[in-house]
Amino acid sequence: MTEFDSLMQGMSLIMTPGHIGLMVIGVLLGILVGVLPGLGAPNGVALLLPLTFTMSPVSAIILLSCMYWGALFGGSITSILFNIPGEPSSVATTFDGYPMARQGKAAEALTAAFTSALLGALVGVLLLTFLSSRIAAFAMEFSSPEFFAVYLLAFCTFIGMSKNPPLKTVVSMMIGFAMAAIGMDTVSGDLRLTFDQPWLLSGMSFEVAVIGLFGIGEILCTVEEGLVFRGEHVKITPMVILRTWKKMPRYWLTWLRSTLVGCWMGITPGGPTAASFMSYSLARRFSKNRENFGKGELEGVIAPETADHSAGTSALLPMLTLGIPGSATAAVMLGGLMIWGLHPGPTLFTEQHDFVWGLIASMYLGNVVSLIVVLATVPLFASILRIPFSIIAPIIIMVCAIGAYSVHNSMFDVGMMLVFGALGYLFKKLGYPIAPLVLAAVLGDKAEDAFRQSMLFSNGELGIFWSNPLVGGLTTAALLMLFWPLIARGIKALGNLKGARVQRAAP
C-alpha cells in the first residue's frame, strides 16, 4: 500500500464530527496553555493525559496533538502583543513581532506568524508522510559527536550573525550556560553548583528565566517610559489578512530556508527553540532589509515562526519511528503512547497502521483547524491591548507569578522570577542581549553531555569530530558560521582588490 492510500484511509478515519470536535477543543485548550507563560505545551499535554485513558488511542492522540499545535500557535500571540513569550520556542518571535505591534501592525504580525507557522508545519507533516522510514534510517546515523556538532552549529550560527556588543553577549551567554549546568550532571552522576541547597537540585528552569526577563522586565521598562501598551489601533479585518497574504510570497526564500532549518533541528534533536533562533539569525544575515531587523521587520517574524513549527512537527518523526522524543512535548506524548499500550519504534507503522495514519491525517487537518481558530480569536486577544494599563499590568504579573510557580510548584521560582525581572530591566537598559542567555540555557547541558559522551567514545581524542563525513561536515559548517563575518569581510576585500585592479587596467 502506498503512503498516499494510507493517508486517505487515515483521513476517512478521522473525518467524523466527534473527531473534528475533539480537534477544536484540543486547539482551544492549546492556545490557552500557550498564551499562559510557564504553563507550556508539555505541562498541558501531561495534564490532559489522564483524560485520555478512557478514549481510543486515535481520539486521544488527536486531542493531544491538536493541543500541541494550539500551544505552538498560542505561544506567538503573547510574544507579539506583550513581548512575553508564552513558550521558550517563541522567544525569537518577540524580536520583530513586538516592535511591529508597537507600531500598530500587530494584526499584520499575527497573520504573518500564523500563516508561516501553518506552512512550516505542513512541510513537517509532508516529511512524516512520505519520507519517514528513510529519515528514521538517517537519524540512526547520529551519535553523540553528531549531536554535539548540531548544537555547535546552532550556537555558532547565532553568535556569528549577532550584532550585539561581544563582551555583553559573552556575559549573557555564560549566565545561560551556568544556569544549564546547575543540578545533576548526566555524565558523572554528580551534583554541580548546588551548594548543598535543595532548591537548586532540579536546576534553574529557563521557563522561569524567560518569564522574568521578558514578562516582568518588559513591564518595568514600560512603566519607566511612562507608557501604556499602545495597541489601540489593532483591528484585524479580512482586509488586513488578505493584504498580509499578498505580501508574503516575496519571502519565499526565507520561508524555504526556515523550513529546512526547522525540519533539520526537529529530526536531529536540536528542538524548536534552537531552530527558531538559528532561522532568525540566518534570515537576518541574508536579508536585503538587514538593517530593519529588530525594528519590526515582517521577515523577522516569518523566519522563526516557520522554523518553530516545522521543527515542532518533525520532532514527532523520531518519536514515532525510533521512540526518542525530539522535544519536551513529544516526550510526554511518548509516555502517553506507552500507557495506551503502543510501543513506538520501527514496528509502529506496520503494527498500528490505523493509529499512525489517523495521527498523520489529523496533523494536516489539525493545523488547518488551528489556523482558523487562531485567526478567529485574534480580535479577542487584540482587544486585551485596549484594557487600561492599571488593570492589565497586575493581571499579567499575576499570570507570570502563577506561571513561574507552576513550573516546579515552588515559591522559590517565583522569587527567582523577580530577580530575573530586575536583571531583564537592567539588561535592556544597558544593551545586554537576552537571546544568547535563553539559547545557552536551553541547549547548554545537552551540548556538554554530547561533548563528554564523545570523549568517552574516543578516549579523549578531539579528532572524533572529524571522524566521518557527516560529523566532519557539520563541525566544519559550524566553524564557518562562527567566523562568517570575518570570512565575508575577506571575500569582500578580495572582491574590492580585484575590482580595483580591473578598474586600473581598464583605461
Binding site: L47, M174, R192, V223
Partner: protein, 175 residues
C-alpha cells in the same frame, strides 16, 4: 521641575554595578565547580571543567566591561534614569515584591486579588478613578478565573493559603 527630572544615577555607576555583579557571579560559579574537578582526565573533561571556564569567561568579560566603563567614564555620564522615571518603576516593582512575599503567607488568590485591587486603586492618572465596585469585580474575577483555569481545569495545585484550609474544613463539615 528641576528636581523631578534630575538624574538619579549616572549610567556609568549602573554599568559598573551590573558588571561587578556578574563578575562576582562568575566567581561563585568557579568556586562551585572547583569541587567537582576542573581537569581533563583520560575520560574527557571532568564534571567541573566546563562550568569552571564558563565562570572564568563570565568574570573576565565582566571585568573587561568594568575597564571599558572606566575608560569611557566621561562619555557614560548621562543619566541612567531620571528620578521621576525611577519613582514610576519603584511604584510598580515594590508592590510586585510585596505581592510575591505575601503569596506564601496568605495564599495566592488573596494576594493576587489584593495586588490587582491596589494597582487599580492607585491609578490616579485617570480622569475618573475606578469605583470600588469595579475594583472588587475585577480583582475577585481575576482570582476566580485563575482558580478555575489553573486549579480546577489544569490541576495545578496552587497554594490557596487560609482560603484552602477554609474550603477543606467546609467540606469536612458537610460530610
Amino acid at each position: 521641575m528641576s528636581t523631578s527630572t534630575s538624574a538619579l544615577v549616572g549610567t556609568r555607576w549602573v554599568e559598573l554595578g551590573l558588571a561587578l555583579f556578574t563578575a562576582a557571579l562568575g566567581g561563585v560559579v568557579m568556586y562551585g565547580s572547583a569541587s567537582s574537578g576542573i581537569g581533563w582526565d583520560d575520560a574527557g573533561p571532568q564534571a567541573g571543567y566546563f562550568p569552571f571556564y564558563i565562570g572564568l569567561l563570565m568574570s573576565a568579560a565582566s571585568l573587561t566591561t568594568v575597564l571599558i566603563t572606566f575608560l569611557q567614564w566621561r562619555r557614560l555620564s548621562e543619566a541612567f534614569v531620571s528620578r521621576e522615571a525611577f519613582n514610576r518603576v519603584l511604584k510598580v516593582f515594590v508592590p510586585i515584591v510585596l505581592f510575591v512575599a505575601s503569596m506564601p503567607l496568605i495564599g495566592l488568590y488573596l494576594a493576587s486579588a489584593g495586588f490587582i485591587a491596589w494597582f487599580m486603586w492607585r491609578d490616579r492618572q485617570r480622569p475618573q478613578p475606578y469605583g470600588w465596585m469595579t475594583i472588587v469585580a475585577v480583582a475577585g474575577g481575576a482570582a476566580l478565573a485563575s482558580y478555575l483555569i489553573f486549579a480546577l481545569w489544569f490541576k495545578v495545585p496552587l497554594d490557596a493559603g487560609p482560603l484552602g484550609d477554609l474550603a477543606a474544613l467546609a467540606r469536612r463539615m458537610l460530610k
